[in-house]
């Protein structure tokens, strides 16, 4: 059983740059937590702080019930998988996996049993005598995971482990990681900038921005109720549409673009300027004249399974993306009639970006 708790964990670099602004988090036993955010948001730093590769400037990091702020990485009982695998190039794969065990004084027989077991789980039995460079990227990443699981650590840390792989392999390995983590039931923290990876892997998602955890929750919660405009724009692909809007006098509608009125499902103070967020997949295509919104088509992208249309919402608005299932044929300039269910409209404060 292992839990990871962060109490106001902070990181300030010697040059004064504050990378992490105090994060509170409790990761339960066996939970798969994903840290996601744009580059430079501090997600890797936070992971490395948990690993002990970066010091912690203030606050506490607790693994199980023990404060590990000053404990050496090797003594935290964690294992890490790196983006570029970080396998020892001069050792064969067997030795790569066995190295950590050797340093911890396991007997030859124990090491052999553990390495062979890990190799069996990861289907690496035929590659143990080879050097890492003789393997493909996916196999190398498996060796790196093998190196992590042989020690049966309390916590797995993954630092963008799939970003060096090609797209197809990434999907396969994603499933494999999820599978493995569930089978072994080891508490895991996973860093990625890829929101698809984040959504699919996470039991709990932490969206980070500028050293702050913008939102912590299950992937679906975050998708359905993004806490801020940043989160709303980051999670979901294609990204959420944002429009400038003004709440109407009856407090039940919001006006966007050239006077389009949208229903709201909750009351907001009248006349307030807001940012309206609508996901591309929540715009519904209706028969002519039936929708609240009429917009012209600027461009169409057909992906087969779905069709993306970029719409003109009038002079005061950016392009709005529409995502439809299946194939649709639209002419350029064709007027579409659309509507949005009130429950799918997100409102954000125009200043702070917080959800209203």
């Amino acid at each position: 059983m292992a839990t990871v708790t962060l109490n106001q964990a902070q990181k300030t670099y010697p040059n004064g740059f504050k990378a992490i602004h105090g994060i509170d988090l409790k990761i339960e036993h066996g939970e798969f937590t994903v840290l996601v955010g744009p580059s430079g948001c501090g997600k890797s730093t936070l992971l490395r702080m948990i690993a002990g590769l970066e010091g912690i400037s203030d606050g506490e990091i607790i693994i199980d019930d023990k404060v590990v702020n000053t404990v050496a990485p090797a003594d935290r009982d964690i294992a890490m998988v790196f983006q570029n695998y970080a396998l020892y190039p001069h050792m064969n794969n067997y030795d790569n996996m066995a190295y950590g065990l050797k340093n911890r004084g396991y007997s030859k027989a124990e090491i052999d049993a553990k390495v062979r077991e890990a190799a069996r789980i990861l289907q690496l039995e035929d590659h143990l005598e080879r050097k890492p460079r003789q393997l493909s990227g996916g196999q190398r990443q498996r060796v790196a995971m093998g190196r992590a699981i042989v020690r049966q650590p309390k916590v797995f840390l993954f630092d963008e482990p799939l970003s060096n792989l090609d797209a197809k392999l990434r999907v396969d390995m994603r499933l494999e990681i999820k599978n493995l983590q569930q089978r072994l039931g080891i508490t895991s923290v996973y860093v990625t900038h890829d929101q698809v990876e984040a959504m699919t892997l996470a039991d709990r998602l932490i969206v980070m921005n500028g050293g702050v955890a913008e939102q912590i929750g299950t992937p679906i919660d975050i998708y359905e109720k993004p806490a801020s405009q940043f989160v709303a724009g980051f999670i979901g692909s294609p990204a959420m549409n944002f429009l400038k809007g003004k709440v109407s006098d009856d407090k039940k509608h919001v006006t966007v673009g050239d006077g389009v009125m949208l229903d709201l499902d909750h009351v907001v103070e009248a006349g307030r300027d807001v940012t309206v967020g609508i996901r591309p997949e929540h715009l519904e295509l209706l028969k002519d004249g039936e929708g609240q919104i009429n917009a012209g088509v600027r461009m169409v992208e057909s992906l087969g399974a779905e069709t993306l249309a970029y719409l003109d919402f009038g002079a005061n608005a950016d392009n709005v993306t529409l995502r439809l299932q299946g194939t649709h044929k639209f002419e350029k300039g064709e007027k579409l009639s659309l509507s949005v269910p009130a429950s799918k409209i997100h409102l954000f404060d125009i200043e702070s970006g917080q959800r209203i």
């Binding site: 294992a79 970080a86 396998l87 001069h90 190295y99």
Partner: protein, 284 residues
């Protein structure tokens, strides 16, 4: 790439001429070393080997009289070998450790210290040879192998090369090793040293040849014939070529020269293979 016959022909001609230009003097020295001294004295340098190979080389190797001193060429070869190996191995070890400290440990003045070490590259050995002699003499290390080797084994060149190499080793390897429970010494021995094999081979080759070819330094540090290196031995033999009204010992002098050049050539040939193999095989 397509190459015309004419082009191949010219390329090879240039290569063959270049090789001949390099090899011919050595060959003449070798051929001339296998004749009697009377024959050389009368007929000049020879292109074809004579029949005195074993006599001349045997005398040089085992008979101190032939080298005009109290030591045989065999003993001088041994001294040179000690100097060359001690010099090269010492430099590799010291510079690896110095570079390790500079690259991987955060301590005050690490950067200025590195540049101080680096700036000593500007000072050739000859500049500091007198003070170095003084130090060695005061330590009572004249005429010892220690005195011959120890003052030379700090190497700015080696430190610089290893520093550059270590900086190119990805940080993740260090981090992975830290997570695997390897301390600084384990990391150095288990990870860094095996990764540096090519660098070690390269620096070893260079330093061995430099050490082997040292002339001024052993000349100053040793007054005892027993510690003469073969490079000094050659000089001694040439000095005595015209002494005593005898026919000059050209063949034996040539034989000594040839013998002096064999070990460095062997080291280069043997280690270069490892060097190239390492270049092909290792990947950071």
């Amino acid at each position: 790439m397509y190459q015309s016959k004419w082009r191949i022909f010219t390329n090879h001609t240039i290569l063959v001429l270049g090789s001949l230009f390099m090899i011919l003097p050595v060959w003449i020295a070798f051929a001339s070393s296998t004749h009697t001294r009377e024959y050389i004295f009368q007929n000049g340098l020879q292109f074809l080997p004579g029949g005195e190979f074993f006599t001349n080389y045997g005398a040089i190797l085992f008979d101190a009289e032939a080298t005009k001193g109290r030591v045989t060429a065999l003993e001088m070869l041994f001294n040179s070998m000690v100097l060359g190996l001690g010099f090269a191995i010492g430099k590799v070890i010291i510079s690896m450790m110095a570079a390790y400290a500079i690259v991987y440990f955060r301590f005050k003045l690490a950067v200025p210290l590195f540049w101080i070490i680096f700036s000593t590259l500007l000072l050739p050995l000859e500049v500091r040879i007198v003070p170095s002699y003084e130090v060695v003499a005061n330590l009572g290390l004249l005429n010892t192998y220690t005195g011959l080797i120890l003052p030379l084994i700090a190497s700015a060149t080696g430190t610089f090369f290893f520093r550059q190499f270590y900086r190119s080793v990805p940080d993740e390897l260090l981090e992975a090793a830290r997570l695997d429970g390897a301390g600084p010494i384990r990391f150095f021995i288990d990870i860094l040293v095996p990764l540096s094999v090519t660098m070690i081979a390269a620096i070893f080759i260079i330093m061995f040849v430099v050490g082997w070819n040292q002339y001024l330094w052993p000349l100053l540090m040793t007054t005892d014939d027993q510690l003469y290196t073969i490079v000094i031995g050659i000089k001694q033999v040439y000095n005595s070529l015209y002494e005593g009204g005898q026919i000059p010992q050209f063949p034996k002098a040539f034989a000594l020269t040839i013998m002096a050049s064999v070990p460095p050539v062997l080291v280069v040939v043997i280690f270069q293979r490892m060097f190239v193999k390492g270049l092909v095989e290792t990947e950071k």
